[in-house]
Symmetry: C2
Subunit: 326 residues, 2 copies
């Protein structure tokens, strides 16, 4: 990969995946600009970038206001579009907020981007949630789109913008559909962001890990370094065949198994409890990813097993605890 | 059908299809309320309802402001959700406006509706544009969703809201996917609303009818009375299987053939010219509808042939010319 000396933009770069990506890009010698509005509850954390702020320019603004930052953006070679609200449960509680964050801002952003950086390479972070309840496993990119929460509807509309503008030659986008992710800099204090943040938090605190239902639902979590690899590979290419690429983990584990790994590391117990109100209707059951398309196109494969990634993650948070578990 | 004495709500009821529907409902004895904000360019025309205003309550407001009209809406048995901007070309010129009209307002509307009228029957007017360029003809409801303009993306997001809230038992919606429509009260002064308004306008004025390209693209236009029948049948049922139903015309004709029918009626000529800028990229080529699902579920079939519907339409506009061609 060749990012040295190239201008890149990371939206949502104060968040979990965005910050890991921005740091890797800075280490590769790229000229990195981050735009992030630190919307409450979306996971932005200034400490994520703090040790690297000398090498990274941070614009504190909504991505929809991109025109105001034209000069900082001109000449960008690749955009990693990570900004958004990922919480399914928050989208059910306040659908209009989710629409604003995931669709309205994205539309304004892309309309500005196509003018400031015509034809620019864009890699958009989408979600497995657009598939809804799996009709078969593992899920490939041809699976029907059938989201069962507002977040999935809104993220899918934003993905459609990327597709439309790419078909029109105005930008050159790929869409990566991510499944559960974890790793250093993940948000531990936002229970609405999903099950893994809760698991890691409890393991760090040595408190009981709560599992909703019987914990038999499968997930294939991806360690953040693997995700960053996928984005870097995709951002370095042009005009890829197929808009959509799944980015799934190496192994499918049950939630109970993941809780078990973390309980072992954290010296704590697992407590099973019924699904709380509002959670069951947006639970998709088991999920696992067919990664064969991205392997074929980009040569990407997830490398880190959950047990190893979990240890790396816990080690990071033990060292940086004050910034993540205040 | 049994609408006598029932409260019904028609969104976008000052527009073309909405007004025809509101009038039919009033004639059937329903207690009709219309909500319409008369957004410039969307086709609202107060004269559409004028002869029936004694029987129809009109709320002049955005559908997204429904909470402000709670008392007028409570007890509604069926909602015909026709409000929206249908222009594909306008959506490409101003995507944010299209998002506001077709998605943001619809979301606010449905979030209010589910509280004011829990479980209410809703029939939503969607569009064939969500299919994009046909992969096969005639198109059935299983055809992939692949809109090639912002209007299609935004209408599809709104349809997804209906699906989501129906799956959750909060409303009880069906989605009718309409193809080109025509008939009395259509907007003749809004060229952005599509080819048929232009054809009828020129025929009425006795001016040359312009056809873009070679005019060989097929369409299956539906006369508005047939469309109204489909909505009335759908609104009178509960919990229909399958969210989505195509509503297509009786016959597939080329645009040149339709222009020929109207040139004959209007005593004018046809002029062929190249696609203007911006039109070609959102042209879907030929389109025809497989109506077998709605026939099976509702017993609906289009009855009016284009030549007959065209004569009825021209007769209406000749009588009401001043209100439509000022």
């Amino acid at each position: 990969m060749n990012y040295a000396g190239r201008r890149v933009l990371v939206t949502g770069g104060l968040g979990f995946i965005g910050s890991n990506l921005a740091i890797r890009l800075a280490r590769e010698g790229a000229e990195v600009t981050v735009i992030d509005s630190s919307v409450r509850g979306c996971g932005a954390n200034r400490h994520n970038l703090e040790p690297f702020l000398a090498q990274i320019t941070v614009i504190n603004d909504d991505i929809g206001a991109l025109f105001a930052h034209r000069q900082a953006i001109e000449g960008t070679a690749a955009v990693f579009n990570m900004a958004g609200e990922i919480s399914h449960i928050n989208s059910m509680r306040d659908p209009v907020r989710d629409l604003e964050l995931n669709t309205v801002s994205q539309l304004r952003f892309l309309l500005a981007l196509r003018e400031i950086c015509p034809g620019v390479r864009v890699v958009y972070a989408s979600t497995r949630q657009v598939y809804g309840v799996p009709q078969y496993l593992p899920i490939n990119e041809s699976h029907p789109i059938n989201p069962i929460d507002f977040n999935g509807i809104h993220k899918h509309a934003a993905a459609s913008y990327h597709r439309l503008l790419t078909a029109g030659g105005e930008i050159d986008a790929s869409i990566l559909r991510l499944t559960n992710s974890y790793g250093p800099r993940m948000a531990l204090n936002i229970p609405e962001q999903g099950v893994l943040g809760h698991f890691f938090r409890r393991a760090l605190l040595g408190e009981d890990i709560e599992v909703f239902g019987d914990g038999k639902q499968l997930r294939d979590p991806v360690y953040v370094d693997d995700i960053v690899d996928a984005f870097l590979l995709a951002g370095d290419r042009k005009g890829l065949p197929g808009m959509n690429m799944n980015v799934g983990g190496r192994d499918a584990l049950s939630l109970a198994e993941m809780a078990g790994v973390l309980a072992g590391e954290g010296g704590c117990r697992i407590r099973y409890r019924p699904f709380p109100d509002g959670h069951k209707s947006i639970d998709i059951g088991s999920f696992s990813t067919d990664n064969s398309f991205i392997r074929e196109i980009l040569g990407w494969e997830p490398k880190i097993a959950f047990a190893d990634g979990a240890r790396l993650t816990l080690a990071f948070f033990r060292e940086n605890r004050d910034h993540y578990l205040p």
